[in-house]
């Protein structure tokens, strides 16, 4: 089986605190995001954290997606790692809307054994405004964005 995958590391900020602390809703959102991306759920585990926050992972046939939330900061760290035809960008759009994120920062990494060269390749690093209806790209680079 082909080892090639696409991994989005996403940092959501300006999220609704309530959304980030609602374990059941986050689990539902993550499962919906998997299906929207064309991936298949295998198993999942979601845990509340004290005093706030949620950690959860959905193992999918195409790898996994994970979330860790800090409601007190309006912040969530999410990974979308998919192999095959599933599209992690769709899962990202779905989560951004569901969490009410104001901004997203995304590192897009290609993974997996190639015919030659590296297995890990930073495809892009970008910052986005997240609106109710669309995402507006603020900045994007094929290299890491400057601090």
């Amino acid at each position: 089986m082909n080892t090639r995958g696409r991994h989005l590391l996403v940092e959501y900020t300006g999220c609704t605190a309530q959304a980030l602390n609602d374990l059941k809703r986050i689990e539902q959102l993550m499962n919906q995001a998997v299906r929207a991306a064309g991936a298949t759920v295998v198993a999942s585990v979601f845990q509340p954290f004290e005093p706030h926050g949620v950690s959860g992972v959905v193992v999918i046939e195409e790898s996994h997606i994970s979330i860790h939330t800090w409601p007190e900061h309006g912040y969530a760290a999410v990974d979308f790692y998919t192999c095959g035809q599933a599209d992690p960008e769709i899962a990202h759009e779905f989560l951004a809307a569901g969490l009410g994120a104001a901004h997203a920062e995304v590192m897009y990494v290609d993974r997996g054994m190639g015919a030659e060269g590296r297995n890990l390749r930073l495809r892009s690093h970008r910052a986005e405004h997240c609106g109710a209806d669309d995402h507006a790209l603020i900045e994007q680079s094929a290299a890491p964005l400057a601090i």
Copy 2:
């Protein structure tokens, strides 16, 4: 709670096929790696894949570690994402030895809300030989390594 975390994306190659297809041993290795890194297991899920391979995630108090293996390629894709004092480099050394990896390629990403600037920062990208007793750095850069 502080949002700062360290995330290692690791690609192991030249691994023992048998090691990559042994679900129980991989689960044990991953749990041992978590403890060696000074982290605390919260929950875990491991699944076999047909015809080969294993996918597994350990949710830890400090975020998560995950693994996906392709025994037929001697390849495993692993993520070590830890917040707080846990050290993902120790978990990486533990896994490399346990999987019998010949090489590792590592992207080291700092995550979490800073006082200013980006949430995602590529700290380094490196390639290593993995021996039974030590790791020998082949190449390291603060920027993405060239293909």
